[in-house]
Each structure stands twice: as C-alpha cells, then as structure tokens.
Symmetry: C2
Subunit: 155 residues, 2 copies
C-alpha cells in the first residue's frame, strides 16, 4: 500500500511516438486535502476510487489504497465531487527497464505535460529519456489535487 514515485516535467512531445498505450483519464476529488485525498477516476472504460495519505518529508513515500469500481458507480460519485475536473490523456512509455506514465492535460490545464515513474526504492536508478525535464516530485502545485483547484492556465 506504499508507493514510491517521482515526477518530472516533459519538454518535448517526442515520447508520443515511443508510447505503447494511451488512455483518456477523467477524474475529480471527494477530498483534495493533502493529508487524505479521495479521488474518483474513469480510465478508459473502468472506474476507480483511490485514497492517498500525505507524503513523508522527502515527498516520495505515501499510503495509497485503490479499488476498481463500475463505470456507473464512478459516474455517480463524480457527480458529487468537488469542482475542478481533471481531463488528460495518459501515454505509457517504456524506457530501459521502467515504464513512464506521461499525462498530457487538456481543458483548464492545457499546456502541462507530466511524466511519472514508480520505483522500488527512493534511490533506485533509472534511465532518463531526452524528453524528460525538471523534477517536480516535491512541488505540490503539480499534484492533481492542487491542479483541480488551481489549474495550470491560471498560474
């Protein structure tokens, strides 16, 4: 239930040609409080509820709990979420031994592209592709829960 992930800005769209899967993600929050976010997500034709605790001091380890739910349940729960729906296409890109999830945001967050990688430990080594920019793991502004309240276009 604990995940280690690192987040980076993306500086070119060249990853799209290397992507082996793409899915639209629509999500919103029942709670966007950083100590306990509760997210409802539709990813392709599946629904999910995901709960995350707050990161530890280094920002990379946090409690995460997720369950698949039906599309109908997800739609029903989205209807009572906080305003600020996030809409994005997620590209999966294999680089060396790892898979990056690269999110291309639309709507109020258009212009923003973020890559995320899940690691076994905080110091695990991974290959950095040319399109990978600055690390933003510890920058709360790039949390989806923050983007739903303060979208990229308003920065």
């Amino acid at each position: 239930m604990v995940e280690i992930e690192r987040k980076f800005l993306v500086i070119s769209e060249s990853f799209i040609g290397e992507s082996f899967a793409q899915k639209r993600i629509v999500q919103a929050y029942l709670s966007s409080v950083p100590e306990r976010t509760v997210r409802i997500r539709i990813k392709g034709d599946k629904g999910f509820i995901t709960i995350k605790g707050k990161s530890n001091n280094s920002g990379t380890t946090r409690l995460e709990w997720e369950k698949e739910i039906s599309l109908q349940e997800a739609e029903s729960l989205l209807s009572i979420c906080e305003s600020g729906i996030i809409d994005k296409i997620r590209y999966e890109v294999k680089v060396g031994n790892h898979v990056f999830e690269v999110d291309v945001f639309s709507g109020e967050n258009e212009g923003l592209i973020i890559a995320e990688i899940e690691l076994q430990s905080e110091h695990e080594i991974f290959e950095k592709p040319l399109w990978l920019g600055k690390e933003v793991t510890n920058d709360e502004r790039f949390y989806n829960s923050f983007l739903s309240k303060k979208p990229f276009k308003t920065w």
Copy 2:
C-alpha cells in the same frame, strides 16, 4: 444507491431487551464535508468505506455508496482520517415490519442515543415504539460527521 432514512432521539434504554443483534462500531472520516462525506468504519470484524452526498431539501434522500473492505485496509485508512473517532454500540431492534438501528455512543459522545429507520419512501408509515423520542432527521448536529467534530459532551 439512494437511501431514505429517518432519525430519532431515544428516551429510554428499554429497547436493549428487545434487541436481536449488537455490534461495536468504530468509525472516522476522510471527508466530513456534508456535500461529500467519506467514512471508514469497522463494524464487528468487518471493514467498510461509505460515501454519502448531501441530503435534498427535505433531508431524507441522499446518494449513498458502500463497499466492504478488509479489517486491515480499514485500520490502515483509519490511521489517516480526520481526528474525532466515533465509538458506539449498535443495537438492532425489530418493531412491527421495520428494524430500528439504535446507536449508543461512548467516549466524547456519551449520553447520546439515536435510532434510525430505513424506509422505501419518505412518507412510509411505521410503528413508533415507546422509547422513540423527537425526530432529528433534519438536524445536522446529529450527523456522525458533525459529532466527530463537535461531540455531544461539548454541547
């Protein structure tokens, strides 16, 4: 996913002798915002996550979604909930064709006893036992999400 329930204060403990089941309930909230409460509950030896929307104007119809989760998951999620744990014994009492759930609170809410009945429609008729007091369906102070922030003993 829509429930109709009415809530009443309880004016005597005589219901205990009529009860056919009792379970301890410990619960807390990931979100206690009335528009979208997210509750983690341990009831006996089972765990649950429950999400409720806001009541309509008459206060009796609201979106409700619930999934059973493991005891271990519930304990893990309770650890990141808002402060203000609710601890109570729930008695089930059959009265006529209906079952009342009667909650006897302890801890910070000691002294409070609330009976709840689930109905098919807002105007369904049901038998009122002698121990049933004033209706509090529309009184937000008696929501468990409110009691977790403003416990009965502080009133």
